[in-house]
C-alpha cells in the first residue's frame, strides 16, 4: 500500500475510535448540542418578543423576526460548543499518554489529529441539522435559494473545520482536560459580543468597535445574508478569510504541538 492509502486508513481508524468515544460518552454530546439549543429556545421565547420589537428594519418586530435574527449566532455557538468537546478529547488523550503511544508507532503523522477533526465535524454536522430543524419547527423563515443553502452549508463546514483545528491545538496545549474545557468557552461567548444577538449599532462605542471587527461578526453576517436570500456580499469573502486564518493557525499550531509537546 502507498503512503496515501495508509494515511486514509490510519485516519479512518482514528475516526472510528472517536465516533466510538462519542457513542460511549453521550452525556458530553448531549450537553454540547443541548446548550445552543437551550439558548435558542431561551432567547426566542423569553427575550424574543421584547428584542424583536427593537430590531431595526424587522418587518413585524416580533418573536419570529428575532428567531431569524439570532439563528446565525446560534449556528456559530453550536460550532463553537462542539469544538469544546474536541479540545477535551484531545487533552484527555494527551494526559493519559495514549498520544505518546501513537507517536511511537509508524502512523502517518496527521492521522491521529485528523481523526479528532473528522469526528468533531460529523458531530457538528449532526448538531447543526438538529438545530436548524428545531429553528424551522418554531417558525424560522428564510428566503435562501438552493445555491445559497449550498453556500451556507459550505461555509459551516469550513467554519467547523477551522474551529476544530484551533480547538485541537488548544487541547494539545492544555495541561489537563479541565483547562481544555474552559479555554474554548470564549468562543461560545464571542457571538454575544458581536452581531449574534443584537445589532452592533446598539452597543457603546468601544465595545461596538470590537464587535464590528471581531472575526465572528462577518461570519455571522454572512450566515444571515445567505439565510435571508440576499446576494453574497463582502461578508462572505471576509468570513471565508477569517475561517482560513483560524483554521490555518490551528492546523500549524497543532502540528507543532503534536510533534514537540510531551505528555505531562
Amino acid at each position: 500500500m502507498s503512503d496515501a492509502t495508509y494515511a486514509v486508513r490510519d485516519s479512518a481508524t482514528m475516526l472510528r475510535r472517536n465516533l466510538t468515544h462519542m457513542a460511549r460518552y453521550p452525556s458530553m454530546t448531549v450537553m454540547l448540542v443541548g446548550q445552543p439549543l437551550l439558548f435558542l429556545l431561551l432567547f426566542v421565547y423569553v427575550f424574543g418578543a421584547a428584542m424583536g420589537a427593537s430590531l431595526p428594519g424587522a418587518p413585524a418586530g416580533d418573536r419570529g423576526d428575532y428567531l431569524t435574527y439570532i439563528t446565525p449566532g446560534i449556528l456559530m455557538m453550536t460550532v463553537a460548543s462542539v469544538s469544546i468537546g474536541t479540545a477535551v478529547l484531545v487533552a484527555t488523550d494527551m494526559k493519559n499518554g495514549i498520544i505518546d503511544r501513537f507517536r511511537t508507532m509508524p502512523i502517518t503523522k496527521p492521522a491521529v489529529l485528523t481523526g479528532h477533526v473528522l469526528g468533531a465535524m460529523i458531530q457538528t454536522a449532526l448538531a447543526l441539522v438538529a438545530l436548524l430543524g428545531v429553528a424551522f419547527l418554531i417558525g424560522l423563515r428564510t428566503g435562501a435559494s438552493a445555491t445559497q443553502w449550498l453556500g451556507l452549508a459550505g461555509l459551516l463546514v469550513l467554519l467547523s473545520l477551522a474551529m476544530t483545528w484551533f480547538t485541537v491545538a488548544l487541547g494539545l496545549a492544555s495541561p489537563d482536560p479541565e483547562t481544555a474545557s474552559n479555554l474554548p468557552m470564549i468562543f461560545v461567548l464571542l457571538p454575544f459580543v458581536g452581531s449574534g444577538f443584537v445589532p452592533v449599532e446598539s452597543m457603546p462605542a468601544g465595545l461596538r468597535r470590537f464587535a464590528e471587527h471581531q472575526p465572528f461578526t462577518p461570519i455571522m453576517d454572512a450566515f444571515r445574508g445567505l439565510l435571508a436570500g440576499a446576494p453574497a456580499g463582502p461578508d462572505v469573502l471576509l468570513a471565508v478569510g477569517w475561517c482560513a486564518v483560524i483554521g490555518l493557525t490551528g492546523y500549524l499550531w497543532s502540528r507543532r504541538l503534536y510533534r514537540t509537546r510531551a505528555a505531562s
Partner: protein, 321 residues
C-alpha cells in the same frame, strides 16, 4: 561492517546529552544493547531514565549524541525506528472508553495488520495476558494490574522486535509484578530485545542481562548483576542505635555512615573482612549506643550505595522531569 553493527546491536547510544533549560538531565550517556538481550537502566527518580527512553523511542530530540535504534538513526529515520519498536510508558496508555479487545484491535489497525491476522494476534494476546474473560469490558473497569497487562499487550500487537518498558511494575502489587516478570521472560525467549527502566534493584537483578546504573544523568556503572556486585566485595554493615541521641553520636563518630532516623540505624559500606569490621567497632566509643549489628552480603542495593553514596530510596539531587 555497518551491516554487522546494525545486526548485532538493537541500541547504540554515544554521547547522549539532554538539558531542559539550565537543568542537565542526561550528561553524556554511552551504551549498547545487543539484540535479543534485556538491558535494565537502574536509577532513582529524576536520574534521567524516562528522558532516555523518550529519546530512544523517538518522542524527544536529543541535544547531542548519536542514537541508533534497531539500526536506524532516531532523528533522521524516526519512522523506521517506530516500525521496529514498541513502547510501554510509565502510565498505562490504554483507551478507557474502549474494551480490552477494542484497544488491541485499534493497535492492530494502526499496525496495518490484515483482519484475519489481527483477530488471531488479538485473541492470542488476550489469552496470554489473562484478559480473555474481561476482553469485552471497558478498560475503565480494569484493575491497575489488568491495565498494565493490557498496556503491554497493546505494545506487542504489531510484533515489535525491540520493546521499551518504562518502570513497568511501578505501583503494582507483588503478584502482578511477578506476573509481569514472567511475561518479560517469555518475550526474551522469543528473542525480543527489552530495554527497561526500574527503580527496583531486584527487578533489574531478576530480568536483565546487563544493568546500567544511571545517576544524575550519567551511567555510573554498567555490567551484569554479578559484575556489579563484584564492584563492592563486602556488602554493608548495619548498626542499630539505642535511641535518637545515640544515632546522632554514631553519625558524628562515623562520618561515612548513612543514618536512617526512622529505623534508628546507620549503614556503612564494608569489604567483608574481619579486620575492617574490628576497626569499625573500635571507632565506636560507647558500646551501649549500639543494640544490634548486622553484616549483609552484597546485593544491588549495596552497589548503588557504593556508587552513588546514597541508598536507592532517596531521590537524587536532580528535579524529576
Amino acid at each position: 561492517m555497518v551491516r554487522m553493527t546494525t545486526r548485532t546491536y538493537a541500541i547504540e547510544v554515544a554521547g547522549l546529552r539532554k538539558s531542559y533549560g539550565d537543568h542537565q538531565v542526561l550528561a553524556g550517556v554511552d551504551l549498547t544493547v545487543p539484540a535479543g538481550s534485556v538491558y535494565a537502566l537502574l536509577g532513582p527518580n529524576g536520574a534521567g531514565k524516562t528522558t532516555a527512553v523518550r529519546i530512544l523511542s523517538t518522542l524527544l530530540p536529543a541535544d547531542a549524541g548519536a542514537v541508533r535504534v534497531a539500526g536506524h538513526d532516531v532523528r533522521r529515520e524516526a519512522d523506521r525506528v517506530r516500525a521496529s519498536i514498541g513502547v510501554t510508558g510509565q502510565f498505562s496508555a490504554v483507551d478507557e472508553l474502549l474494551t480490552g479487545r477494542e484497544n488491541l484491535l485499534l493497535m492492530a489497525d494502526l499496525g496495518h495488520l490484515d483482519r484475519h491476522r489481527a483477530q488471531l494476534v488479538v485473541g492470542r494476546l488476550l489469552e496470554r495476558f489473562d484478559l480473555a474473560d474481561a476482553a469485552d469490558r471497558r478498560a475503565a473497569t480494569y484493575s491497575g494490574g489488568m491495565k498494565r497487562r493490557l498496556d503491554l499487550a497493546m505494545t506487542l500487537v504489531p510484533g515489535p522486535r525491540l520493546i521499551f518498558l518504562d518502570e513497568p511494575t511501578t505501583g503494582l502489587d507483588p503478584r502482578s509484578r511477578r506476573d509481569l516478570w514472567g511475561i518479560v521472560r517469555e518475550l526474551v525467549a522469543d528473542e525480543v530485545t527489552v530495554f527497561l527502566t526500574t527503580q527496583y534493584l531486584e527487578e533489574a537483578d531478576q530480568l536483565a542481562d546487563r544493568i546500567g546504573v544511571l545517576d544524575g544523568g550519567r551511567l555510573v556503572a554498567e555490567g551484569t548483576a554479578a559484575e556489579l556486585k563484584r564492584l563492592i566485595p563486602g556488602g554493608r554493615v548495619q548498626l542499630q542505635a539505642a535511641g535518637n541521641e545515640q544515632l546522632a553520636q554514631l553519625v558524628s563518630q562515623l562520618p561515612e555512615a548513612i543514618p536512617d532516623a526512622e529505623t534508628l540505624t546507620v549503614t556503612l559500606p564494608h569489604d567483608g573482612s574481619l579486620t575492617a569490621l574490628r576497626r569499625l567497632l573500635d571507632r565506636i566509643e560507647d558500646d551501649g549506643a549500639v543494640t544490634g549489628l548486622a553484616v549483609h552480603t552484597p546485593d544491588l542495593d549495596d552497589v548503588f550505595l557504593a556508587l552513588t553514596g546514597r541508598p536507592t530510596d532517596e531521590p537524587s539531587q536532580e528535579m524529576p522531569v
